[in-house]
């Protein structure tokens, strides 16, 4: 199927976090554990798919001059929905992610995809693109969260890997660990790409 490539594009080749380096604020802030990464990724994916869908539907109705404001309004509406839903149904996760839920509005991935993809493409393709980008982002967040959780807390998805007494590298769940993990992950990605010419 030819449309499939719009979905797989966001997973690896144009991974929003590791390749395009968009959405770095939530990526650094919430990835103290793998589960937080999944939660943040899911919330972002929902907003991304919905806003891509609506923008692709309305692309001929929105005047070009006010398109950015219109996009921001559409995105902000979906973010408010996610915010209220998560507050009601997953209060613990909502508390952990905190300020970064409303801040999905200013996540460059979403406005970036609206501007670069959804306003020029069909509804189906836009949904696939949103889904691929969202899942790519979720995967990247989960990998980062997993590494930081294993190194910093000795667990993975809250399952203990080492004994309670064992010493872990606490640094990795503190702010500096976020920068270091992210930096080394991109460095590894770059080196692999260089070696195999991807």
């Amino acid at each position: 199927m030819s449309n499939l490539k719009y979905f797989t594009n966001g997973l690896l080749k144009e991974n929003p976090l590791f390749v395009l380096v968009l959405g770095t604020c939530p990526a650094l802030a919430v990835t103290t554990a793998a589960l937080n990464g999944v939660g943040m990724g899911a919330a972002t994916t929902f907003v991304l798919v919905c806003s891509n869908l609506l923008i692709a539907l309305l692309k001929n109705l929105i005047p070009n001059k006010v398109r950015i404001v219109a996009f921001i309004l559409i995105i902000a509406s979906f973010v408010t929905i996610v915010d209220l839903v998560m507050k009601a149904f997953t209060p613990d996760l909502y508390k952990t992610l905190g300020i970064f839920i409303p801040l999905i509005v200013v996540n460059c991935i979403i406005l970036g995809r609206a501007e670069a993809f959804a306003q020029k493409n069909t509804v189906t393709r836009s949904i696939l693109d949103g889904l691929g980008m969202g899942i790519g982002f979720t995967l990247a967040l989960t990998i980062m969260g997993g590494i930081r959780e294993i190194l910093g807390n000795g667990s993975f998805f809250d399952i203990r890997l080492v004994s309670q007494e064992a010493r872990t590298i606490l640094l990795f769940i503190l702010p500096p660990g976020a920068f270091l993990t992210f930096g080394y992950l991109i460095a590894i990605m770059n080196s692999v790409k260089r070696k195999y010419n991807i």
Binding site: P102, L103, V106, P176, L180, N190
Partner: protein, 191 residues
């Protein structure tokens, strides 16, 4: 809470970039040169203080009395986007030299999540009008401090050798990590 505590907390202990991860995009993007990062910093100080002043008024005189607090995200982002445009227009007319210096950085600020983030945080912390503006200014100065420090280090790093895979983002991120480690030394400064 007195103003000195708010300032020390916002500037050093909870540095907006290095401890709270707000405004990472401009932090990584505009930290090539010390001079440009100073320009960006000045624009952020200006917009952030103004944005907190306006969002405080909107929150307490429109959203709360009408019980539509859930509209916060939508209202605040629109206000900030609008504010940046207005500031740009006014500056162009009345202070052309300042506009020349800050001009290119102003539109970039709409996408700076620190502005929206700090506005929401100030509401969550129940600050008064003056505290809110002081908090925003101190945070923005903290942003500038981190930005200028990183730019200074990056200028020096350009002259050194490093592994090829580290070029660009990785090197910047690891430098930022070490800066963040240094800033952790400030924790405990305020009880």
């Amino acid at each position: 809470m007195d103003f000195i505590t708010i300032i020390i907390l916002a500037l050093l202990v909870n540095n907006v970039v290095l401890a709270q991860f707000l405004g990472i995009c401009p932090f990584l993007g505009v930290s090539n040169k010390v001079s440009t990062s100073l320009g960006m910093g000045a624009a952020v100080v200006f917009v952030m203080s103004l944005a907190n002043l306006v969002t405080y008024l909107i929150q307490n005189f429109i959203l709360v009395p009408l019980h539509i607090e859930f509209m916060q995200t939508i209202t605040f982002i629109l206000v900030i986007a609008f504010l940046v445009q207005v500031v740009e227009l006014i500056m162009k007319k009345s202070a052309p030299s300042l506009y020349q210096a800050l001009g290119i950085y102003l539109p970039l600020i709409t996408t700076n999540c620190a502005v929206l983030g700090i506005a929401i945080l100030a509401v969550q912390k129940n600050y008064s009008l003056v505290s809110s503006v002081v908090y925003a200014s101190a945070t923005a100065v903290g942003f500038t401090l981190a930005l200028v420090l990183l730019a200074g280090i990056r200028e020096q790093l350009e002259l050194n050798g490093y592994p090829k895979g580290m070029k660009g983002f990785p090197l910047t991120l690891i430098t930022a990590g070490l800066l963040s480690l240094a800033f952790m030394g400030f924790s405990g400064l305020v009880k």
